[in-house]
Symmetry: C2
Subunit: 166 residues, 2 copies
């Protein structure tokens, strides 16, 4: 195995561990207030939707992704310089997350890998480097909230990463 | 039974039948293109996110709702004059929808009731009258994309409606 492959073990995703990269979207770990005469708990404003650049719009899309194999072998991370991007599983899909802080250079020491528990969604803050959607076990369907509009909104950064599970 | 109660039978939700009220969010009935080197189908821009008024923001929230009983008895519909509101089930929850077109008066002849199939989400267009979230059978968890910011964004309109299933 080449020594220039960054080796990471995916850690359980928590809001605290993910705070530098964005938000975890999860009703179980968030505050709520009651609406609809007490029939509904509103877990309010769980992710910061960010859009920049020319005439941006917020998009609601669905990604249907084929599962990855583990260990997960990556050759690059990507970022969206003009907007945040949220992924929420529609059937309790578990997925791997690999992230690095915004910036033009990725420091391998700052790359982190997480595994969700199936009910968690995430929002990647604007400019956050991340792996392409990496669902485990089976085809996954994710609701995605991200940015549309004019301008270049995807960069790739070459970096070799291998992610294992504990 | 009072004759001034509007009687409706919920119809299966389709994009065509719902077009006057907003969009159905469903990967099975939408176009896609491939991303992530062919690993992911992007069903792109499935709903029009609308925000108006002072310094609006787009919010991502989760609603956890207790189930309704059937027949569904409503005493009002509500609208959000400053923004659209999308609901997407997170565990294949089936829900009832009751809607009327935007406008300051609801014409009972224009009220419609639908039932989702468990995988469908919806986006209510700005100003569309709708029932509060009405999940069937069990507690439901929905990802909600709607509008935050200053200003009054919820009106109620009194109308007696009874919705039955076929």
């Amino acid at each position: 195995m080449s020594t220039d492959v960054l080796q990471l073990t995916a850690q359980p995703l928590t809001s605290e561990a993910f705070a530098a990269f964005g938000e975890v979207i999860d009703s179980r770990t968030s505050e709520h207030f009651m609406i609809n005469s007490g029939r509904t708990r509103r877990h309010h404003d769980l992710a910061k939707v960010e859009v920049a650049g020319d005439s941006p719009r917020v998009l609601i899309s669905i990604f249907v992704s084929q599962p990855v194999t583990v260990p997960l072998e990556l050759t690059f991370l990507e970022r969206h310089p003009l907007g945040s991007q949220a992924f929420v599983p529609m059937h309790e899909e578990q997925f791997l997350i690999v992230v690095a802080p915004p910036g033009d250079v990725i420091d391998p020491a700052e790359v982190r890998a997480f595994i969700t528990d199936g009910r968690q969604g995430v929002n990647y803050r604007i400019g956050t480097w991340h792996a392409i959607q990496s669902v485990l076990d089976r085809e996954g369907e994710f609701l995605v909230v991200d940015r549309g509009g004019a301008g270049h909104n995807c960069d790739e950064y070459p970096i070799a990463i291998r992610v294992t599970l504990e």
